[in-house]
């Protein structure tokens, strides 16, 4: 775990600012309610920030404005019905939400999807990652004030969404994964179109690199802001690009591939030693590029065959407990499924990435300026549905 000098310095600076805040000038604090209706909160997260001037003394996220109680709802739904719900957890990368749940159920049922289904699953998994992170790349820029990149992101994400829709029928809520395989096979011509979409995404990444990442103002706004040391990030449960940006070389796609075929292709896990907002942006940009490469390689080698294993008509999952986690666009997402041999899961614990990722904010926001709250929240990248579930 490399904690660079810069990271340590920024960390010390942040801590010092924390101690300094109310000593320098004895002023009365102000409480600023950021959200629940605020452009930077991606929905309805609310941050109650106690300010001294423009400096944050303490910040406390308040959520639940969108709590839908999926863990309770899942208990009264059959296994195929649950995927309908969990599509809506991280609504920008919906397909990726289905995968760990289906894999957990498959593990309990001891069935395995045929290779073609695994392949297509992985492709769609990566496509939803691209669709998700593409929007982040534009959104992060809009958080620090540049308006145009987010339109580029919406424009080019469309190509990926079109492909997801052409294959699954749903733009945002595919509900395509089934226990034992997939709902349907790919339509003709899909592979070629997806390749083209991947080319467009790579062009988009180049544009973002020049428009946002290389921009001196963007760097001034993000470098050294919101530094997360690796060990602290881990103890808060940060995952995905957030922790890789702190130098932790950990990616479940590579380290424990379960049910997905990431181990069949040649790709790289990107890390950044700095742990600041810029590093998180940079890692995600590289990840998007890498994902297009993964998709390209997978498209070359989709095996032929069925897309559905033999499963009973009425799915009753044998009693047992299973936990499967995958490296979703936002980080580690896992489902702890407890079954009692019924058509309903007895208990589903949804481990969503954003919930843990955002839990570090009270620690992270101490001593920063108001604009940096937005930068840090933007760079942590959460989806409200993924926090509130």
């Amino acid at each position: 775990m490399t904690v660079t000098e810069r990271q340590q310095l920024s960390y010390i600076a942040a801590q010092a600012a924390d101690a300094r805040v109310n000593l320098e000038i004895e002023t009365e604090g102000m409480t600023l309610n950021i959200g629940p209706q605020h452009p930077a909160t991606h929905g309805t997260l609310r941050i109650v920030a106690k300010l001294d001037g423009e400096q944050v003394v303490s910040a406390e996220p308040v959520m639940g404005y969108m709590h839908r109680g999926y863990e309770k709802l899942a208990e009264v739904r059959t296994y195929p019905q649950v995927t309908t719900l969990i599509n809506r957890i991280d609504w920008l990368g919906s397909f990726a939400n289905e995968v760990p749940f289906i894999l957990a159920a498959e593990r309990l049922m001891e069935v395995e999807a045929p290779p073609r289904a695994q392949w297509i699953r992985t492709i769609l998994f990566e496509l939803s990652r691209i669709a998700n992170i593409t929007l982040f790349l534009g959104d992060m820029a809009v958080q620090v004030g540049a308006i145009t990149p987010v339109f580029f992101a919406f424009r080019d994400r469309e190509h990926v969404l079109n492909q997801i829709e052409a294959a699954t029928g749903g733009r945002f809520h595919p509900n395509f994964d089934r226990i034992g395989g997939l709902k349907d096979d790919l339509p003709a011509g899909w592979v070629a179109e997806t390749r083209q979409a991947m080319r467009k995404i790579r062009t988009f990444c180049d544009q973002i690199e020049e428009l946002v990442e290389g921009n001196e103002i963007f760097q001034a706004r993000t470098r050294g802001i919101g530094v997360i040391p690796a060990d602290i990030g881990l103890s808060y449960g940060l995952s995905g690009a957030n922790i890789r940006a702190s130098g932790v070389d950990w990616d479940l796609r590579r380290d424990s591939p379960c049910g997905l075929v990431h181990d069949q292709v040649d790709w790289k896990v990107w890390t950044h030693p700095d742990g600041d907002s810029f590093a998180r942006f940079w890692v995600r940009l590289q990840e998007t590029r890498e994902a297009t490469k993964i998709v390209d390689q997978l498209l070359d080698a989709i095996p032929s065959g069925p897309i559905m294993a033999k499963v009973p008509v009425i799915i009753k999952v044998p009693a047992g407990e299973a936990y499967v986690e995958t490296e979703n666009p936002l980080g580690v997402m896992g489902y702890y499924v407890v079954s009692k041999g019924d058509v309903y899961p007895f208990r589903v614990k949804i481990r969503s990435a954003s919930f843990s990722n955002v839990s570090i904010t009270p620690w992270l926001l101490k001593g920063v300026y108001v604009p940096d709250i937005i930068t840090i929240l933007g760079s942590l990248y959460f989806i409200l549905g993924d926090i509130d579930r």
Binding site: H173, P187, W190, E210, E216, P306
Partner: protein, 180 residues
């Protein structure tokens, strides 16, 4: 760090996007501005993008195939399908045979205000009575009007496209849409 400042590169990116949007054909070679071709957006009510054939726009009902077996209503995660039916004697298939007992569909309503467009009902239907149509223009000013009955659902049957061919390597059976 490259020699060209990132600020300038950014301006070039946005500037060239302006040029590409206004002069979509290979930059400035043809000097006719045609932004409506260069833009990524379409003017919706005038121009419509065709959704893919698989798009889950609205559920269409092939009434003749429905036997009111309730499977879709039971499997619906949102409980948004309402079916009522009764049994009826139908004339025999062949002359001289016994009269058959058929289930007649009285009511088949889908409450699209509740529907999550998951497609489970279409999947579980054993008699091929439900189909996805890419039709998406069925918004209503009042939420109660989103409860559509079987007549309306049957109208959408005409917009159901044929199933596409599968990508090479597939062994799945291609399905057919029954003629309305």
């Amino acid at each position: 760090m490259s020699l060209v400042p990132g600020l300038v590169k950014g301006l070039v990116v946005t500037g060239s996007t302006i040029v590409r949007t206004v002069f979509p054909k290979r930059g400035m070679r043809t000097m006719m501005p045609a932004p409506s071709k260069g833009a990524a957006t379409v003017q919706y009510p005038h121009v419509k993008e065709a959704p893919p054939t698989r798009a889950r726009g609205v559920i269409a009902l092939h009434e003749g195939n429905c036997t009111a077996c309730m499977l879709c209503a039971r499997e619906c995660p949102d409980w948004c399908i309402y079916i009522e039916g009764h049994k009826e004697k139908a004339p025999p298939r062949r002359a001289g045979g016994k009269p058959r007992q058929v289930n007649k569909l009285d009511r088949f309503d889908i409450d699209y205000a509740l529907c999550m467009f998951c497609g489970i009902c279409v999947d579980v239907c054993p008699f091929e009575a439900l189909f996805w149509s890419p039709e998406y223009e069925f918004s209503e000013p009042r939420i109660a009007d989103l409860l559509h009955d079987k007549e309306r659902l049957s109208e959408w049957m005409e917009t159901v496209p044929d199933f596409e061919d599968y990508e090479s390597g597939s062994v799945a059976k291609k399905l057919k849409v029954p003629p309305t």
